[in-house]
Protein backbone atom coordinates (compact mmCIF):
# COMPACT_ATOMS: atom_id res chain seq x y z
CA UNK A 1 0.00 0.00 0.00
CA UNK A 2 2.79 2.38 1.00
CA UNK A 3 4.74 1.36 -2.11
CA UNK A 4 1.75 2.22 -4.28
CA UNK A 5 1.46 5.65 -2.71
CA UNK A 6 5.15 6.28 -3.30
CA UNK A 7 4.73 5.24 -6.98
CA UNK A 8 1.73 7.55 -7.34
CA UNK A 9 3.67 10.39 -5.70
CA UNK A 10 6.62 9.89 -8.05
CA UNK A 11 4.35 9.84 -11.11
CA UNK A 12 2.55 13.03 -10.03
CA UNK A 13 5.88 14.71 -9.33
CA UNK A 14 7.23 13.77 -12.79
CA UNK A 15 4.12 15.13 -14.49
CA UNK A 16 4.19 18.31 -12.40
CA UNK A 17 7.81 18.83 -13.43
CA UNK A 18 6.97 18.25 -17.09
CA UNK A 19 3.99 20.59 -16.87
CA UNK A 20 6.07 23.32 -15.25
CA UNK A 21 8.55 23.08 -18.14
CA UNK A 22 5.70 23.30 -20.61
CA UNK A 23 4.56 26.66 -19.24
CA UNK A 24 8.06 28.11 -19.37
CA UNK A 25 8.78 30.01 -22.59
CA UNK A 26 11.62 28.51 -24.62
CA UNK A 27 13.96 31.15 -26.00
CA UNK A 28 16.40 30.37 -28.74
CA UNK A 29 17.95 33.80 -29.26
CA UNK A 30 20.44 35.22 -26.79
CA UNK A 31 18.60 38.39 -25.83
CA UNK A 32 15.37 38.74 -27.79
CA UNK A 33 13.50 41.97 -27.37
CA UNK A 34 10.15 41.32 -25.76
CA UNK A 35 6.98 43.35 -25.71
CA UNK A 36 4.20 43.14 -23.15
CA UNK A 37 0.64 42.63 -24.39
CA UNK A 38 -0.61 45.94 -22.97
CA UNK A 39 2.21 47.78 -24.70
CA UNK A 40 1.31 46.09 -28.00
CA UNK A 41 -2.37 46.83 -27.47
CA UNK A 42 -1.61 50.55 -27.32
CA UNK A 43 0.36 50.35 -30.56
CA UNK A 44 -2.34 48.51 -32.55
CA UNK A 45 -3.42 50.46 -35.60
CA UNK A 46 -0.16 52.35 -35.92
CA UNK A 47 1.07 52.44 -39.54
CA UNK A 48 4.63 51.83 -38.36
CA UNK A 49 3.69 48.54 -36.72
CA UNK A 50 3.91 45.17 -38.44
CA UNK A 51 2.69 42.14 -36.52
CA UNK A 52 3.79 38.77 -37.83
CA UNK A 53 2.02 35.59 -36.81
CA UNK A 54 4.74 32.91 -37.03
CA UNK A 55 2.92 30.17 -35.16
CA UNK A 56 3.32 26.66 -36.55
CA UNK A 57 1.80 23.21 -36.12
CA UNK A 58 -1.04 22.95 -33.61
CA UNK A 59 -0.14 26.38 -32.22
CA UNK A 60 -1.49 27.70 -35.51
CA UNK A 61 -4.03 25.10 -36.59
CA UNK A 62 -5.79 24.71 -33.23
CA UNK A 63 -6.19 28.40 -32.62
CA UNK A 64 -9.26 30.30 -33.73
CA UNK A 65 -7.80 33.74 -33.24
CA UNK A 66 -4.97 35.94 -34.36
CA UNK A 67 -3.95 39.46 -33.34
CA UNK A 68 -5.87 42.05 -35.35
CA UNK A 69 -3.95 43.02 -38.48
CA UNK A 70 -1.33 40.30 -38.06
CA UNK A 71 0.32 38.91 -41.18
CA UNK A 72 0.82 35.16 -41.42
CA UNK A 73 4.38 34.01 -42.19
CA UNK A 74 6.11 30.66 -41.83
CA UNK A 75 9.00 30.69 -39.40
CA UNK A 76 11.03 28.18 -41.47
CA UNK A 77 10.90 30.51 -44.49
CA UNK A 78 12.22 33.56 -42.67
CA UNK A 79 14.87 34.12 -45.37
CA UNK A 80 12.14 34.54 -47.96
CA UNK A 81 10.04 37.11 -46.11
CA UNK A 82 12.49 38.95 -43.86
CA UNK A 83 13.36 41.47 -46.58
CA UNK A 84 9.71 42.20 -47.35
CA UNK A 85 9.33 44.50 -44.35
CA UNK A 86 10.96 47.92 -44.12
CA UNK A 87 13.64 48.23 -41.46
CA UNK A 88 12.17 51.43 -40.06
CA UNK A 89 8.99 49.62 -39.03
CA UNK A 90 8.42 48.09 -35.62
CA UNK A 91 8.12 44.38 -36.27
CA UNK A 92 6.49 42.23 -33.62
CA UNK A 93 6.62 38.46 -34.11
CA UNK A 94 4.56 36.04 -32.05
CA UNK A 95 4.90 32.29 -32.22
CA UNK A 96 2.68 30.80 -29.50
Amino acid sequence: MRGNRIQLGIAVAIFALLASFSTTPVLYAADPLRIEKNELKEMLGSPSLVIIDARAGRDWTSSEFKIKGAVREEAEKVDQWATKYAKDKTIVIYCA
Binding site: F15, S22, G57, R58, S63
Partner: protein, 422 residues
Protein backbone atom coordinates in the same frame (compact mmCIF):
# COMPACT_ATOMS: atom_id res chain seq x y z
CA UNK B 1 -20.11 -1.33 -17.00
CA UNK B 2 -21.26 -3.42 -19.98
CA UNK B 3 -18.36 -4.03 -22.33
CA UNK B 4 -20.45 -3.37 -25.45
CA UNK B 5 -21.32 0.13 -24.22
CA UNK B 6 -17.63 0.93 -23.84
CA UNK B 7 -16.97 -0.38 -27.38
CA UNK B 8 -19.81 1.74 -28.78
CA UNK B 9 -18.64 4.82 -26.88
CA UNK B 10 -15.08 4.36 -28.12
CA UNK B 11 -16.16 4.23 -31.76
CA UNK B 12 -18.35 7.32 -31.30
CA UNK B 13 -15.59 9.16 -29.45
CA UNK B 14 -13.25 8.34 -32.33
CA UNK B 15 -15.69 9.54 -34.98
CA UNK B 16 -16.41 12.81 -33.17
CA UNK B 17 -12.84 13.57 -32.11
CA UNK B 18 -11.44 17.00 -33.03
CA UNK B 19 -9.13 15.26 -35.54
CA UNK B 20 -12.12 13.82 -37.40
CA UNK B 21 -14.13 17.04 -37.25
CA UNK B 22 -11.24 18.96 -38.80
CA UNK B 23 -10.91 16.40 -41.63
CA UNK B 24 -14.66 16.55 -42.17
CA UNK B 25 -14.82 20.35 -42.19
CA UNK B 26 -11.87 20.73 -44.55
CA UNK B 27 -13.27 18.03 -46.83
CA UNK B 28 -16.62 19.81 -46.89
CA UNK B 29 -14.89 23.02 -47.85
CA UNK B 30 -13.13 21.34 -50.76
CA UNK B 31 -15.70 18.86 -52.03
CA UNK B 32 -19.00 20.16 -50.66
CA UNK B 33 -21.86 17.73 -50.17
CA UNK B 34 -19.94 15.10 -52.13
CA UNK B 35 -17.91 14.59 -48.97
CA UNK B 36 -20.77 13.32 -46.75
CA UNK B 37 -21.96 11.29 -49.76
CA UNK B 38 -18.52 9.67 -49.90
CA UNK B 39 -18.77 9.01 -46.15
CA UNK B 40 -21.96 7.05 -46.73
CA UNK B 41 -20.23 5.18 -49.55
CA UNK B 42 -17.33 4.23 -47.27
CA UNK B 43 -19.58 3.08 -44.44
CA UNK B 44 -20.38 -0.43 -45.83
CA UNK B 45 -16.65 -1.10 -46.32
CA UNK B 46 -15.92 -0.30 -42.69
CA UNK B 47 -18.99 -2.10 -41.37
CA UNK B 48 -17.79 -5.16 -43.31
CA UNK B 49 -14.30 -4.67 -41.88
CA UNK B 50 -15.70 -4.40 -38.34
CA UNK B 51 -17.85 -7.50 -38.70
CA UNK B 52 -15.44 -9.77 -40.56
CA UNK B 53 -12.07 -9.00 -39.02
CA UNK B 54 -11.56 -9.58 -35.30
CA UNK B 55 -8.60 -7.35 -34.58
CA UNK B 56 -7.96 -8.32 -30.98
CA UNK B 57 -7.57 -12.06 -31.56
CA UNK B 58 -4.10 -13.50 -31.71
CA UNK B 59 -4.51 -15.87 -34.65
CA UNK B 60 -1.78 -15.65 -37.28
CA UNK B 61 -2.46 -13.42 -40.25
CA UNK B 62 0.55 -14.38 -42.32
CA UNK B 63 3.66 -16.45 -41.80
CA UNK B 64 7.33 -15.72 -42.41
CA UNK B 65 8.80 -12.31 -43.26
CA UNK B 66 5.44 -11.09 -44.61
CA UNK B 67 3.96 -11.66 -41.18
CA UNK B 68 6.62 -9.54 -39.53
CA UNK B 69 6.12 -6.75 -42.07
CA UNK B 70 2.37 -6.83 -41.54
CA UNK B 71 2.74 -6.87 -37.77
CA UNK B 72 5.13 -3.94 -38.18
CA UNK B 73 2.52 -2.02 -40.17
CA UNK B 74 -0.16 -2.70 -37.53
CA UNK B 75 2.06 -1.91 -34.54
CA UNK B 76 3.47 1.23 -36.14
CA UNK B 77 -0.02 2.48 -37.07
CA UNK B 78 -1.63 1.77 -33.71
CA UNK B 79 1.16 2.78 -31.33
CA UNK B 80 2.27 5.66 -33.55
CA UNK B 81 -1.24 7.04 -33.75
CA UNK B 82 -1.80 6.54 -30.01
CA UNK B 83 1.24 8.68 -29.16
CA UNK B 84 1.03 11.32 -31.91
CA UNK B 85 -2.73 11.79 -31.99
CA UNK B 86 -2.86 11.95 -28.18
CA UNK B 87 -0.28 14.75 -28.21
CA UNK B 88 -2.17 16.56 -30.97
CA UNK B 89 -5.60 16.17 -29.41
CA UNK B 90 -4.41 17.22 -25.96
CA UNK B 91 -2.77 20.31 -27.45
CA UNK B 92 -5.97 21.11 -29.36
CA UNK B 93 -8.08 20.60 -26.22
CA UNK B 94 -5.76 23.00 -24.41
CA UNK B 95 -6.33 25.64 -27.06
CA UNK B 96 -10.10 25.18 -26.87
CA UNK B 97 -10.07 25.63 -23.10
CA UNK B 98 -7.81 28.66 -23.40
CA UNK B 99 -9.66 30.37 -26.26
CA UNK B 100 -13.27 29.39 -25.60
CA UNK B 101 -13.59 28.95 -21.84
CA UNK B 102 -10.74 30.35 -19.71
CA UNK B 103 -8.45 32.87 -21.37
CA UNK B 104 -6.22 32.96 -18.29
CA UNK B 105 -5.52 29.23 -18.21
CA UNK B 106 -2.30 28.10 -19.99
CA UNK B 107 -3.21 25.74 -22.80
CA UNK B 108 -0.23 23.43 -22.38
CA UNK B 109 -0.81 23.19 -18.65
CA UNK B 110 -4.35 21.99 -19.36
CA UNK B 111 -2.99 19.46 -21.86
CA UNK B 112 -0.62 18.05 -19.23
CA UNK B 113 -3.24 18.08 -16.47
CA UNK B 114 -5.70 16.18 -18.68
CA UNK B 115 -3.01 13.67 -19.59
CA UNK B 116 -2.04 13.24 -15.94
CA UNK B 117 -5.67 12.83 -14.81
CA UNK B 118 -6.43 10.17 -17.41
CA UNK B 119 -3.17 8.34 -16.75
CA UNK B 120 -3.74 8.28 -12.97
CA UNK B 121 -7.35 7.17 -13.48
CA UNK B 122 -6.30 4.27 -15.71
CA UNK B 123 -3.41 3.36 -13.45
CA UNK B 124 -5.04 3.59 -10.04
CA UNK B 125 -8.67 2.84 -10.93
CA UNK B 126 -8.63 0.60 -14.02
CA UNK B 127 -12.16 -0.61 -13.25
CA UNK B 128 -13.54 2.93 -13.17
CA UNK B 129 -11.71 4.20 -16.26
CA UNK B 130 -13.99 2.45 -18.83
CA UNK B 131 -17.03 4.05 -17.17
CA UNK B 132 -15.75 7.41 -18.32
CA UNK B 133 -16.08 6.44 -21.99
CA UNK B 134 -19.90 6.54 -22.33
CA UNK B 135 -20.01 9.79 -20.33
CA UNK B 136 -17.44 11.55 -22.52
CA UNK B 137 -18.80 10.15 -25.79
CA UNK B 138 -22.34 11.04 -24.63
CA UNK B 139 -21.29 14.66 -23.99
CA UNK B 140 -19.66 14.89 -27.43
CA UNK B 141 -22.63 13.36 -29.29
CA UNK B 142 -25.18 15.44 -27.35
CA UNK B 143 -23.29 18.66 -28.00
CA UNK B 144 -23.04 18.01 -31.74
CA UNK B 145 -26.72 16.98 -31.91
CA UNK B 146 -27.67 20.17 -30.06
CA UNK B 147 -25.81 22.24 -32.66
CA UNK B 148 -27.42 20.29 -35.51
CA UNK B 149 -30.83 20.97 -33.95
CA UNK B 150 -30.02 24.68 -33.60
CA UNK B 151 -28.82 24.81 -37.21
CA UNK B 152 -32.10 23.34 -38.42
CA UNK B 153 -34.20 25.51 -36.13
CA UNK B 154 -32.52 28.85 -36.80
CA UNK B 155 -33.37 30.64 -40.00
CA UNK B 156 -31.57 33.97 -39.74
CA UNK B 157 -27.96 34.10 -40.81
CA UNK B 158 -28.04 31.05 -43.06
CA UNK B 159 -25.74 31.24 -46.06
CA UNK B 160 -26.06 29.11 -49.13
CA UNK B 161 -22.54 27.88 -49.65
CA UNK B 162 -20.91 28.55 -52.99
CA UNK B 163 -19.19 25.65 -54.63
CA UNK B 164 -15.43 25.85 -54.99
CA UNK B 165 -14.02 24.96 -58.37
CA UNK B 166 -11.29 22.49 -57.64
CA UNK B 167 -9.55 20.45 -60.35
CA UNK B 168 -11.36 17.07 -60.60
CA UNK B 169 -8.25 15.14 -59.53
CA UNK B 170 -7.80 17.22 -56.39
CA UNK B 171 -11.50 16.98 -55.55
CA UNK B 172 -11.30 13.18 -55.92
CA UNK B 173 -8.28 13.04 -53.62
CA UNK B 174 -10.13 15.24 -51.11
CA UNK B 175 -12.93 12.69 -51.20
CA UNK B 176 -10.41 9.92 -50.49
CA UNK B 177 -9.68 11.55 -47.14
CA UNK B 178 -13.09 10.28 -46.00
CA UNK B 179 -11.14 7.10 -45.21
CA UNK B 180 -9.39 9.04 -42.43
CA UNK B 181 -12.76 9.61 -40.77
CA UNK B 182 -13.34 5.92 -40.08
CA UNK B 183 -9.78 4.66 -39.77
CA UNK B 184 -8.80 3.61 -36.27
CA UNK B 185 -12.29 2.60 -35.13
CA UNK B 186 -10.97 -0.93 -34.42
CA UNK B 187 -9.16 0.44 -31.38
CA UNK B 188 -12.51 -0.30 -29.73
CA UNK B 189 -11.76 -4.03 -30.04
CA UNK B 190 -9.01 -3.56 -27.44
CA UNK B 191 -11.01 -1.64 -24.83
CA UNK B 192 -13.55 -4.39 -24.16
CA UNK B 193 -13.16 -6.92 -21.37
CA UNK B 194 -11.24 -10.04 -22.30
CA UNK B 195 -13.50 -12.91 -23.38
CA UNK B 196 -16.42 -10.53 -23.87
CA UNK B 197 -18.69 -10.95 -26.91
CA UNK B 198 -17.08 -10.26 -30.30
CA UNK B 199 -16.96 -6.47 -30.71
CA UNK B 200 -17.79 -6.47 -34.44
CA UNK B 201 -21.56 -5.83 -34.26
CA UNK B 202 -21.15 -3.09 -31.62
CA UNK B 203 -18.43 -1.43 -33.66
CA UNK B 204 -20.67 -1.60 -36.73
CA UNK B 205 -23.54 0.04 -34.82
CA UNK B 206 -21.13 2.72 -33.58
CA UNK B 207 -19.93 3.35 -37.13
CA UNK B 208 -23.52 3.67 -38.35
CA UNK B 209 -24.60 6.09 -35.61
CA UNK B 210 -21.39 8.09 -35.91
CA UNK B 211 -21.74 8.33 -39.69
CA UNK B 212 -25.33 9.52 -39.35
CA UNK B 213 -24.31 12.25 -36.89
CA UNK B 214 -21.41 13.33 -39.11
CA UNK B 215 -23.61 13.49 -42.21
CA UNK B 216 -26.19 15.58 -40.32
CA UNK B 217 -23.43 17.87 -39.01
CA UNK B 218 -22.05 18.19 -42.57
CA UNK B 219 -25.44 19.25 -43.92
CA UNK B 220 -25.83 21.79 -41.11
CA UNK B 221 -22.33 23.13 -41.77
CA UNK B 222 -22.63 23.62 -45.54
CA UNK B 223 -25.86 25.53 -45.10
CA UNK B 224 -24.33 27.92 -42.58
CA UNK B 225 -20.75 28.47 -43.67
CA UNK B 226 -19.38 29.40 -47.12
CA UNK B 227 -17.21 26.60 -48.48
CA UNK B 228 -14.33 28.94 -49.13
CA UNK B 229 -14.13 29.79 -45.44
CA UNK B 230 -14.42 26.14 -44.47
CA UNK B 231 -11.60 25.12 -46.78
CA UNK B 232 -9.34 27.85 -45.38
CA UNK B 233 -10.12 27.27 -41.71
CA UNK B 234 -7.98 25.06 -39.50
CA UNK B 235 -10.83 24.70 -36.99
CA UNK B 236 -13.88 24.39 -39.30
CA UNK B 237 -16.05 22.78 -36.61
CA UNK B 238 -15.60 25.75 -34.26
CA UNK B 239 -16.17 28.15 -37.16
CA UNK B 240 -19.45 26.42 -38.06
CA UNK B 241 -20.57 26.37 -34.43
CA UNK B 242 -19.91 30.12 -34.16
CA UNK B 243 -21.89 30.75 -37.37
CA UNK B 244 -24.83 28.74 -36.04
CA UNK B 245 -25.08 29.93 -32.44
CA UNK B 246 -22.39 32.56 -31.92
CA UNK B 247 -20.31 32.36 -28.73
CA UNK B 248 -22.64 29.79 -27.08
CA UNK B 249 -22.21 27.64 -30.21
CA UNK B 250 -18.43 27.79 -29.87
CA UNK B 251 -18.75 26.84 -26.20
CA UNK B 252 -20.96 23.85 -27.06
CA UNK B 253 -18.57 22.69 -29.79
CA UNK B 254 -15.63 23.37 -27.47
CA UNK B 255 -17.21 21.09 -24.88
CA UNK B 256 -17.68 18.41 -27.53
CA UNK B 257 -14.08 18.76 -28.70
CA UNK B 258 -12.61 18.54 -25.19
CA UNK B 259 -14.88 15.60 -24.25
CA UNK B 260 -14.06 13.69 -27.44
CA UNK B 261 -10.33 14.39 -27.06
CA UNK B 262 -10.45 13.12 -23.47
CA UNK B 263 -12.44 10.07 -24.64
CA UNK B 264 -9.82 9.28 -27.26
CA UNK B 265 -6.85 9.60 -24.91
CA UNK B 266 -8.71 7.53 -22.30
CA UNK B 267 -9.41 4.92 -25.01
CA UNK B 268 -5.70 4.75 -25.83
CA UNK B 269 -4.89 4.19 -22.14
CA UNK B 270 -7.58 1.51 -21.93
CA UNK B 271 -6.49 -0.22 -25.12
CA UNK B 272 -2.72 -0.20 -24.87
CA UNK B 273 -2.33 -3.03 -22.30
CA UNK B 274 -4.45 -5.34 -24.50
CA UNK B 275 -2.51 -4.29 -27.59
CA UNK B 276 0.73 -5.25 -25.79
CA UNK B 277 -0.93 -8.41 -24.49
CA UNK B 278 -1.76 -9.40 -28.06
CA UNK B 279 1.83 -8.83 -29.16
CA UNK B 280 3.06 -10.87 -26.17
CA UNK B 281 0.65 -13.67 -27.05
CA UNK B 282 2.21 -13.77 -30.50
CA UNK B 283 5.70 -13.76 -28.99
CA UNK B 284 6.54 -10.34 -30.45
CA UNK B 285 7.34 -8.82 -27.06
CA UNK B 286 8.51 -10.45 -23.81
CA UNK B 287 5.57 -11.98 -21.88
CA UNK B 288 6.56 -9.97 -18.80
CA UNK B 289 5.42 -6.83 -20.61
CA UNK B 290 1.86 -8.14 -20.73
CA UNK B 291 1.71 -9.00 -17.04
CA UNK B 292 2.16 -5.35 -16.06
CA UNK B 293 -0.63 -3.25 -17.61
CA UNK B 294 0.71 -0.14 -15.86
CA UNK B 295 3.97 -0.30 -17.82
CA UNK B 296 2.59 0.37 -21.33
CA UNK B 297 0.30 3.03 -19.88
CA UNK B 298 3.26 4.73 -18.21
CA UNK B 299 5.28 4.52 -21.44
CA UNK B 300 2.39 6.00 -23.43
CA UNK B 301 1.93 8.85 -20.95
CA UNK B 302 5.68 9.50 -20.93
CA UNK B 303 5.91 9.49 -24.72
CA UNK B 304 2.97 11.88 -25.09
CA UNK B 305 4.34 14.21 -22.40
CA UNK B 306 7.76 14.12 -24.08
CA UNK B 307 6.20 15.02 -27.43
CA UNK B 308 4.35 17.96 -25.89
CA UNK B 309 7.49 19.11 -24.09
CA UNK B 310 9.73 18.81 -27.10
CA UNK B 311 7.50 21.27 -28.93
CA UNK B 312 6.16 18.70 -31.37
CA UNK B 313 2.67 20.12 -30.96
CA UNK B 314 3.99 23.35 -32.40
CA UNK B 315 5.67 21.61 -35.31
CA UNK B 316 4.16 20.75 -38.71
CA UNK B 317 5.98 17.41 -38.41
CA UNK B 318 3.35 16.22 -35.93
CA UNK B 319 0.69 16.36 -38.65
CA UNK B 320 2.92 14.31 -40.95
CA UNK B 321 3.38 11.69 -38.22
CA UNK B 322 -0.37 11.53 -37.56
CA UNK B 323 -1.20 11.25 -41.26
CA UNK B 324 1.51 8.62 -41.68
CA UNK B 325 0.07 6.52 -38.84
CA UNK B 326 -3.48 6.84 -40.22
CA UNK B 327 -2.32 5.89 -43.72
CA UNK B 328 -0.54 2.83 -42.37
CA UNK B 329 -3.76 1.92 -40.59
CA UNK B 330 -5.68 2.15 -43.89
CA UNK B 331 -2.99 0.04 -45.55
CA UNK B 332 -3.19 -2.50 -42.74
CA UNK B 333 -6.96 -2.83 -43.16
CA UNK B 334 -6.48 -3.27 -46.92
CA UNK B 335 -3.78 -5.92 -46.47
CA UNK B 336 -5.85 -7.68 -43.81
CA UNK B 337 -8.68 -8.04 -46.32
CA UNK B 338 -6.19 -9.36 -48.87
CA UNK B 339 -5.06 -12.12 -46.49
CA UNK B 340 -8.70 -13.18 -46.06
CA UNK B 341 -8.89 -13.37 -49.84
CA UNK B 342 -6.05 -15.86 -49.84
CA UNK B 343 -7.87 -18.20 -47.47
CA UNK B 344 -11.43 -18.47 -48.73
CA UNK B 345 -11.56 -22.24 -48.42
CA UNK B 346 -11.11 -22.47 -44.64
CA UNK B 347 -13.37 -24.96 -42.94
CA UNK B 348 -16.66 -23.48 -41.85
CA UNK B 349 -20.39 -23.89 -41.94
CA UNK B 350 -20.91 -21.52 -44.89
CA UNK B 351 -21.89 -22.75 -48.29
CA UNK B 352 -19.53 -22.35 -51.25
CA UNK B 353 -21.51 -19.41 -52.84
CA UNK B 354 -21.53 -17.60 -49.49
CA UNK B 355 -17.77 -18.09 -49.20
CA UNK B 356 -17.28 -16.79 -52.70
CA UNK B 357 -19.43 -13.74 -51.94
CA UNK B 358 -17.48 -13.06 -48.73
CA UNK B 359 -14.20 -13.49 -50.57
CA UNK B 360 -15.42 -11.10 -53.26
CA UNK B 361 -16.33 -8.55 -50.59
CA UNK B 362 -12.86 -8.91 -49.01
CA UNK B 363 -11.35 -8.31 -52.46
CA UNK B 364 -13.53 -5.27 -53.05
CA UNK B 365 -12.74 -3.82 -49.63
CA UNK B 366 -9.00 -4.39 -50.13
CA UNK B 367 -9.07 -2.72 -53.55
CA UNK B 368 -11.10 0.21 -52.23
CA UNK B 369 -8.78 0.80 -49.27
CA UNK B 370 -5.52 0.37 -51.16
CA UNK B 371 -6.64 2.69 -53.98
CA UNK B 372 -7.76 5.20 -51.35
CA UNK B 373 -4.37 4.89 -49.65
CA UNK B 374 -2.62 5.57 -52.97
CA UNK B 375 -4.87 8.54 -53.80
CA UNK B 376 -4.27 10.21 -50.43
CA UNK B 377 -0.49 9.68 -50.58
CA UNK B 378 -0.21 10.92 -54.16
CA UNK B 379 -2.10 14.15 -53.39
CA UNK B 380 -0.34 14.90 -50.11
CA UNK B 381 1.79 18.08 -50.23
CA UNK B 382 4.38 16.39 -47.99
CA UNK B 383 4.37 13.13 -49.93
CA UNK B 384 8.12 12.42 -49.74
CA UNK B 385 8.32 13.05 -46.01
CA UNK B 386 5.18 11.01 -45.48
CA UNK B 387 6.58 8.04 -47.39
CA UNK B 388 9.88 8.30 -45.50
CA UNK B 389 8.10 8.41 -42.13
CA UNK B 390 5.98 5.36 -43.01
CA UNK B 391 8.96 3.37 -44.32
CA UNK B 392 11.12 4.18 -41.28
CA UNK B 393 8.26 3.45 -38.87
CA UNK B 394 7.42 0.08 -40.39
CA UNK B 395 11.09 -0.92 -40.64
CA UNK B 396 11.70 0.07 -37.02
CA UNK B 397 8.58 -1.69 -35.71
CA UNK B 398 9.27 -4.81 -37.81
CA UNK B 399 12.91 -4.95 -36.69
CA UNK B 400 12.00 -4.42 -33.04
CA UNK B 401 9.39 -7.17 -33.30
CA UNK B 402 11.89 -9.51 -34.95
CA UNK B 403 14.57 -8.88 -32.30
CA UNK B 404 12.12 -9.10 -29.38
CA UNK B 405 10.60 -12.29 -30.79
CA UNK B 406 13.98 -13.97 -30.95
CA UNK B 407 15.04 -12.64 -27.55
CA UNK B 408 11.86 -13.26 -25.65
CA UNK B 409 10.21 -16.26 -27.28
CA UNK B 410 8.66 -18.49 -24.67
CA UNK B 411 7.58 -22.08 -25.01
CA UNK B 412 4.10 -22.35 -26.42
CA UNK B 413 3.94 -18.80 -27.80
CA UNK B 414 2.60 -18.34 -31.31
CA UNK B 415 5.37 -18.12 -33.89
CA UNK B 416 3.61 -15.74 -36.23
CA UNK B 417 3.17 -12.10 -35.42
CA UNK B 418 0.03 -11.46 -37.45
CA UNK B 419 -3.16 -10.81 -35.63
CA UNK B 420 -6.37 -11.32 -37.50
CA UNK B 421 -8.96 -13.97 -37.89
CA UNK B 422 -12.45 -14.17 -39.24
Amino acid sequence: MPSHLVVLATVLGFLLSPETLVILGTGLGRAGTAFPAALVLCLPVYVFTACKLDFSQAKPLASGPGGFALAGVAACARFGYAVCASAGMLASAGFVVNEVFFYWFPNFLFAHLLLLSLFVLNWRAPVQAPKLMPILAGIAVSAVLLLIGAALWQQEGKEIANRLDLPPGLALCSLATTLFVFTGFDLAAFVRKKNADPPGPRMAIGLGIGCLVLVAWSMATVVWVPMERLSQSTVPHLLAARHILGAPGAAIMGLAAVAAAAAMVNAFFLAIPQMVDQLAGQGSVPPAWASRPALPRFLLAGAVAAMLLSGMAGSPNLEILIRGALLLWILYHGLAHLTRLRRPAEAGPHSIPAKRATSLCHGGAATFLIIGFGAIVSADPDRDQLLAVMAIGVAAAGSAGFVLTRAGRRPGAARDPGALAD
